[in-house]
């Protein structure tokens, strides 16, 4: 390492060109990263067994709630001028190539009875000119189970124009969805609604596009805050702007390199990926701080600039590599997961952490060597000088209160255990969206029309199966059961269609709204229905059918419980019908996978925790050291769950990332303290134990506190995110990092003293962990 640094300094003027070129190239690639929030990113991955059924379903029936919806609210949607507007908007949107079809009051074709005649065809063959004509149309519409909550609200005050995309919105790109929304908004701008009508654009594509935009805005807002916080901390620490600029230059380089790799992996920045830059910057800045501090120490001791650079980097390269590797291993624990968004997060941050080490041992010494004037010799010492004695005095205080410390730690662990037992994995689709107009419109859509959570009972059998009486009866049973569920806004199937046609052929009597008894009549009715309308429910050969259940979003737990109940009823209803039943749809597959991601993160945390503990055992050649390292790191984990309880939040995808982040931060201080204590025991076997423990605390405490402050404030910036989940994550990170430090400062010394430090001395100092020292004032 020493020779490498010397060579780096010697050829610094050439290397700097390579560095700048790499920045330009990395910046170019990184600029091509796209932000994207799509629900399907959580579940559309190779090998997901649910995808073939979902794709088959989409091929047959499209996306039942994938419309751009124009909600037109007024005191009466059936006033002639309002219907005229609906017609004008419908006709204006019909030619837009991105849409497959536009459904509205002026395009629907309900079957109804008028006297003895059966009336089919358009609800409004011509626009009503009189109030009585409009009222007649309203009476038909609000009585039709296929129109209420889909096209018209139950009270007839609001109506919806549904613009269905050619590519089902669930599988279309964000750009396609954005184009579709723009087309609708453009048309609304060209033809504003009449007085008394409020037009609102909403629907699932609006949620995804708005969330994507919010993600980008979040990045643009949070990054400057993260940098501002770090600059402030670094300036306070080093009392120099250059002291802030140098570590940041190193870390920005690593972040740019990492983002370039991320871009080459062709991944968009999604909800989880949006944490990557913050994670990398906050984690990446720690090592350069240590190296810079060591460099300043050397300079103060009177070493030459080149010697100080070579010595500080070569001394800290291996310890920093070790802590970086433990962090990388923690994130790499997510690589085996099949879910791309989590896997890429794990891979990217693991690579980024290693690259941060690379820039610490290359870019930082390069810049130190290039700078014409050294930093003030006193810079960086103020922090450790002031805090080291405090840490030294902490030891006797702790020793005299060890029972209280252990009881407190035990209480926190027990409380955390209790908190963990009360938390469940519950994800949201709508409530994951930042509060604001989009969320409000979705709430409005859920209240008056359909929800955006799609649960589908997809039936498959031989051609003609779906007209068999027992199959239709099963569909009716499932449909009725679904409609009885409190979360369900609409449940529609071919049975509803048949009931409406049958009612029309029975003079419009409500008693006629029943399933026809004979297969022949079913076939005859079905042949009367326009293929476009029939195709929403059953395929041409009647081999496949769907029951489209749309529901409000109250989180994955209640939705999944509802889905489980529907699945149970559907299984029982279809038993013996020779028809295969699948529960599919975005709400089924998406929520299942989101919950699984959260569980995977918790599991990954446990695996990484165990792996790092094992690594500690190997490095220290002591299983006791591994056991000692576990306890103080369980305390912040317990704290995580307590924060969740305090915020009345369940474990979700966006806050479970906390466990990924925590893996990288935990253990470092523990490892450094144990290493330092054992090193002192080896160096000064005759000195009193109390003195050695105080010295270890004074050495490890200041940099650990600085690291904890950097990490907690850095990640705490996420509290300023627009996303509720990320706000929680920010708070959890801040609390965990500080709690982790407190646990290490209080528990680790006592455990080390009781189980490691006082009774054993290390035969060989583990060079790998001795080095993360900001300053040793009492020894110099």
């Amino acid at each position: 390492m020493r020779r490498f640094i010397q060579a780096l300094i010697r050829f610094r003027r050439f290397i700097v060109f390579g560095w700048v070129a790499s920045l330009v190239l990395a910046g170019f690639f990184a600029s091509h990263i796209q932000s994207r929030f799509q629900f399907r990113d959580f579940y559309d991955y190779p090998g997901n067994p649910a995808i073939p059924v979902l794709q088959s379903y989409h091929r047959d029936f499209g996306d039942p709630a994938g419309n751009v919806v124009v909600l037109l609210e007024s005191d009466d949607a059936f006033q002639p001028d309002r219907l005229q507007y609906v017609d004008a908007l419908t006709k204006a949107l019909e030619p837009v190539p991105i849409f497959r079809r536009i459904r509205s009051l002026t395009t629907v074709r309900p079957s109804r009875a008028v006297g003895d005649d059966v009336v089919t065809g358009l609800l409004l063959p011509h626009l009503p000119v009189s109030a009585s004509e409009a009222r007649a149309a309203k009476d038909i519409a609000v009585a039709d189970r296929l129109l209420v909550r889909r096209i018209v609200s139950a009270d007839g005050r609001a109506t919806a124009v549904l613009a269905e995309m050619k590519t089902p919105s669930e599988f279309s790109s964000i750009d396609e969805q954005r184009d579709a929304i723009r087309a609708v908004q453009g048309q609304l701008a060209l033809t504003p609604p009449p007085t008394g009508v409020q037009a609102i654009v909403t629907g699932a594509p609006v949620v995804e596009v708005q969330t994507t935009d919010d993600l980008m805005n979040d990045q643009q807002r949070l990054m400057p805050i993260v940098f501002a916080v770090l600059i402030a901390l670094l300036v306070l620490t080093f009392r120099s702007f250059l002291g802030a600029a140098l570590p940041l230059a190193a870390v920005v380089t690593s972040v740019l390199w990492t983002m370039a790799i991320f871009a080459l992996l062709n991944r968009p920045l999604d909800m989880i990926g949006s944490i990557i830059p913050t994670s990398l910057i906050v984690y990446g800045v720690v090592d350069p701080i240590f190296v810079l501090s060591r460099y300043l120490d050397k300079m103060q001791r009177g070493e030459s600039k080149e010697d100080a650079i070579v010595a500080s980097v070569s001394e800290l390269a291996v310890p920093c590599l070790f802590t970086s590797l433990t962090t990388a291993v923690g994130f790499a624990a997510f690589i085996p997961t099949p879910i791309a968004t989590v896997r890429f997060y794990g891979v990217t941050v693991a690579i980024g952490v290693v690259l941060a080490w690379v820039t610490t041992v290359t870019v930082l010494p390069l810049l130190l060597a290039l700078l014409p004037a050294p930093l003030p010799a006193s810079a960086g010492r103020a922090w450790s000088s002031r805090t080291a004695p405090l840490f030294a005095r902490l030891w006797p205080w702790l020793r005299s209160r060890q029972v209280a410390v252990f009881v407190t730690a035990g209480a926190v662990l027990l409380a955390g255990l209790w908190a963990a037992s009360t938390r469940q994995v519950v994800n949201d689709y709508v409530r994951g969206v930042p509060p604001g107009p989009v969320r409000d419109t979705i709430t409005l859509l859920e209240a008056q029309f359909t929800g955006v959570i799609r649960t589908v009972v997809y039936l498959e059998g031989d051609p003609g199966s779906m007209r068999r009486p027992e199959v239709l009866k099963a569909i009716e049973t499932i449909d009725d059961f679904a409609e009885s569920q409190p979360l369900v806004t609409t449940s529609t199937s071919v049975v509803d269609l048949l009931k409406e046609v049958n009612r029309a052929f029975h003079g419009g009597s409500p008693a006629g709204a029943v399933l026809p008894k004979s297969t022949a009549l079913v076939e005859q009715y079905l042949s009367l229905v326009d293929p476009e309308d029939l195709g929403d429910f059953v395929t041409s050969d009647e081999s496949r059918a769907q029951i489209a259940i749309l529901s409000r979003d109250r989180g994955s737990k209640p939705v999944r419980s509802m889905q489980a109940a529907i699945e149970r009823v559907a299984r029982a209803a279809t038993a013996g019908t020779n028809v295969q039943m699948y529960l599919t749809g975005q709400g089924v597959t998406g929520y299942r996978e989101m919950d699984r991601i959260a569980v995977d993160m918790l599991f990954g945390f446990v695996v990484a925790f165990a792996a790092i503990a094992a690594l500690v055992a190997v490095v220290f050649r002591s299983w006791r050291a591994a056991l000692v390292s576990i306890v103080p790191n369980l305390v912040p984990t317990a704290g995580c769950f307590l924060v969740l309880v305090a915020l009345r939040t369940e474990v979700r995808v966006d806050n479970a990332i906390m466990f990924c982040i925590a893996v990288g931060a935990l253990f470092n201080t523990t490892i450094q303290f144990i290493a330092r204590a054992r090193a002192l025991a080896a160096e000064r076997p005759t000195s009193p134990v109390d003195e050695r423990m105080a010295s270890a605390l004074a050495t490890v405490g200041p940099p650990s506190l600085l690291t904890a402050v950097v990490l907690s404030l850095g990640f705490g910036v996420l509290c300023f995110s627009k996303f509720p989940g990320l706000q929680t994550l920010g708070l959890m990170c801040a609390v965990t990092m500080l709690l982790g430090f407190l646990a290490d400062a209080a528990i680790t010394p006592l455990l080390t003293w009781r189980f490691l430090g006082a009774r054993r001395s290390l035969q060989t100092e583990p060079a790998a962990v001795d080095g993360d020292v900001l300053a040793l004032p009492e020894e110099t």
Partner: protein
């Protein structure tokens, strides 16, 4: 005869032959758009005027699923060009016996009655059906009643070839408000007035459907399209219409086209 004279004679003969060959086409091309459409309406390519046909339909959806229907249709031109048609389904088995009666009117909406054997009686089907599909196929009622052709505004477009046959091309803009189409472009064979192709554009001027004649057969002096396909572009659906048998029925009785007869399975 010198070589030069022989050459001039050959050129003159070829020129004369060319004139003779081109003459009929040019004479037909000189006909107005209205005349071409009138000839089209006078022809009975689907056997829906004065014929009895046995036919079957195959509907294929975008996933490749198929559904078949078979029927016999008896028609009579009772007040040319208006006609009445009785259609009785024979397949699939569940549709057997179902009947449909349509009586076209010049100045009023057509009468349509549907008989479903399971219900035991017929019902008059009212409402704006013209944009609706006929018995779940890709043929709309508007395609069958030909009102848009009868009442539209016609414009002659340059001739083109369809399947190697020169065709007159007429654009018809429907005048009825209940038409599902903004315009129909018809490609008509000059010699027999049979449409080889029709393109229907929806109200948004987007190509909605294409009708392609695939096989023509002359029976009793009338050209029938015995195999054709209607493609519904937005739905990615097609309907094949195959006329299995066709016979001229000049003398069908009036009683045949009554509701009472419709209700006889």
């Amino acid at each position: 005869m010198s070589e030069r004279r022989r050459f001039i004679a050959r050129v003159m003969v070829v020129g004369l032959l060319a004139t003779i060959v081109r003459s009929p086409s040019e004479a037909q091309a000189a006909g107005s758009a209205e005349e071409i459409v009138r000839r089209l309406l006078a022809s009975d390519p689907f056997g829906f005027n004065d014929a009895t046909i046995d036919a079957h339909l195959v509907v294929v959806d975008r996933t490749g699923s198929k559904r078949s229907l078979a029927f016999r249709a008896i028609s009579r031109r009772y007040a040319p060009p208006e006609s009445e048609t009785l259609l009785r389904f024979s397949a699939p088995p569940d549709m057997a016996g179902a009947g449909f009666l349509q009586i076209e009117h010049r100045d009023a909406d057509d009468d349509r009655y549907l008989f479903l054997p399971e219900l035991g009686r017929s019902r008059r089907i009212a409402g704006s059906l013209r944009s609706s599909a006929f018995m779940g196929t890709d043929f709309a009622f508007a395609d069958l009643d030909r009102r848009d052709l009868r009442e539209g505004i016609d414009t002659l477009l340059p001739d083109v070839s369809v399947a190697q046959y020169a065709c007159h091309v007429v654009q018809v803009v429907p005048t009825r408000s209940d038409s599902p189409y903004s315009r129909i472009v018809v490609y008509v064979r000059p010699d027999n007035g049979v449409p080889l192709k029709m393109e229907m554009f929806d109200r948004a001027q987007v190509l909605a459907k294409t009708f392609d004649a695939r096989e023509l057969r002359r029976v009793d002096g009338v050209w029938y399209i015995v195999s054709s396909r209607m493609t519904n572009h937005p739905l990615q659906h097609t309907t094949e219409l195959v006329i299995d048998q066709v016979a001229s029925t000049q003398a069908a009785s009036d009683d045949l086209f009554s509701v009472r007869n419709l209700e006889k399975p």
